[in-house]
Subunit: 284 residues, 2 copies
């Protein structure tokens, strides 16, 4: 991390801090996005920036920038930092105002922060991840990518303490999503994933994956599945900006798909890599 966007300006990291009465700090009153950068180029940038606007709208927060303005700024930041492969993290809070639950008056300006982080890209997707199952204790607006992430943190921490990569959350036995990813299963060649309701975040990688399924004749349904269905599925995979398309080969200590990357997951990884190259250029 070198430079930071604070509102409209690009600044040095050491010059940036936030007020203790920023509503992001006292209430988690804000929304965020993480965008992947390959070859110095944004992957699915517009989809992410539009989702930031959607999330803001769902919590009645105004966004003082257009998607085009944010994209311009974010590209400047990539260039300033000389970022080749990594992510851009950005968040928008409702601004600085004396603490009270009711939203502040409209002259309080939101606070926008963005910075980059380098993540080397090998072009190879992870061979296989381990998961645990856990109760989904989160609120009923998981479709909003908000800064209220304690439920997600507690789930991910439980996974880490079990030596696993991801926590697969379920409500009354129906799988919703991972703590920072979407989860899909493959049964008899058909991919199944939770529909994009208020119970999950409609991941950008999830959306790209379903589009690839549609374009390449891989059958899929957007339907909830049970923990039991998942444990006996032919394949389980999870998707996110950070893990891309990755198989889960062990859940709660039990092996999935004989511990191998299944054929549908492998195909989706291949298609996803091609999509990265299509959007961001060939990766060496």
């Amino acid at each position: 991390m070198g430079k930071i966007i604070l509102n409209g300006e690009i600044k040095n990291r050491s010059d940036v801090s936030v007020d203790i009465e920023d509503r992001g700090y006292q209430f988690g009153d804000g929304v965020y996005e993480v965008i992947r950068v390959y070859n110095g180029k944004l992957f699915a940038g517009e989809m992410h920036l539009n989702r930031l606007l959607d999330s803001a709208k769902l919590i009645q927060m105004k966004v003082p920038f257009t998607v085009a303005e944010m994209e311009t700024r974010v590209k400047e930041l990539i260039s300033e930092d000389g970022l080749q492969d990594g992510i851009i993290y950005m968040q928008l809070t409702r601004g600085v105002s004396p603490r009270t639950h009711v939203f502040p008056s409209s002259d309080v300006e939101p606070v926008f922060v963005a910075y980059t982080k380098e993540i080397p890209y090998t072009g190879k997707m992870k061979p296989g991840a381990k998961g645990i199952t856990t109760d989904d204790i989160r609120w009923l607006r998981c479709n909003i990518k908000s800064l209220n992430l304690l439920g997600n943190l507690l789930a991910k921490q439980a996974a880490a303490e079990a030596g696993c990569d991801e926590a697969i959350q379920h409500r009354d036995g129906l799988v919703t999503e991972g703590s920072s990813s979407n989860v899909s299963i493959v049964v008899d060649g058909t991919l199944k994933t939770h529909p994009a309701t208020n119970l999950i975040l409609n991941g950008i990688t999830r959306q790209v994956m379903l589009k690839l399924c549609a374009d390449h004749g891989i059958p899929y349904v957007e339907e909830p599945f049970t923990v039991e269905e998942m444990m006996t599925a032919d394949e389980v995979l999870y998707t996110s900006t950070s893990v891309e398309v990755t198989p889960i080969i062990n859940i709660d200590g039990g092996m999935i798909a004989a511990g191998e990357t299944g054929p549908v997951t492998k195909k989706l990884q291949q298609l996803f890599s091609q999509e990265i190259e299509r959007q961001c250029g060939s990766i060496d």
Copy 2:
């Protein structure tokens, strides 16, 4: 607000800011308390500080101070600010660390912030408040006083937009609590309030009120009640550090208790004022 406690030290407001990678800012990863001050003295101070420790424990966060240490610091702050009547707001986050869901290593120190706010005390409780009912969309750990408050904010904002003081949340028709308060009803002289489960925050004012009921022979039960029961109850009241004991005399536009403060609420207001005087001295 004059001075601020930042970790162990008392500083000037203008010298204090927080890092953008404070986990409180990026995840709402922290807990808080609001303590009332009357006559320059803390009301139920130890109960609040102990609950801060309880909340921290429930999210596996270490607290680098004892209750006694925090109490000493907070009393210094009251004295520095010359606060007579008002509140102390305090929050504790998991500290500053590069963003990742998994908790940082134990050498990352939590960040503690506290400041005061003046609120004139008249000794008179509010005559009557207006409420709306709304779906409780929050997570399933409402017993933790955490910084993940978006659900509460959205509920409170809906109340404000309807010209009301509080949003009374319910799950499938069972009343849980207000957006920043506990709610009780009185039927045939018996007070009824939601039990202290994971679905509500066990308010300090709620606890003080129930103790006053027990000590003064006011019958009460800790049981959930329906929205219907509430709408036809003899009295409805809400309690919090900020509203103390206040009747709700109108809900969703319908009048409750003929728009008056009922006898049990009146008695509880009286007992609560006496409790304030007992703990903090006589109020002129």
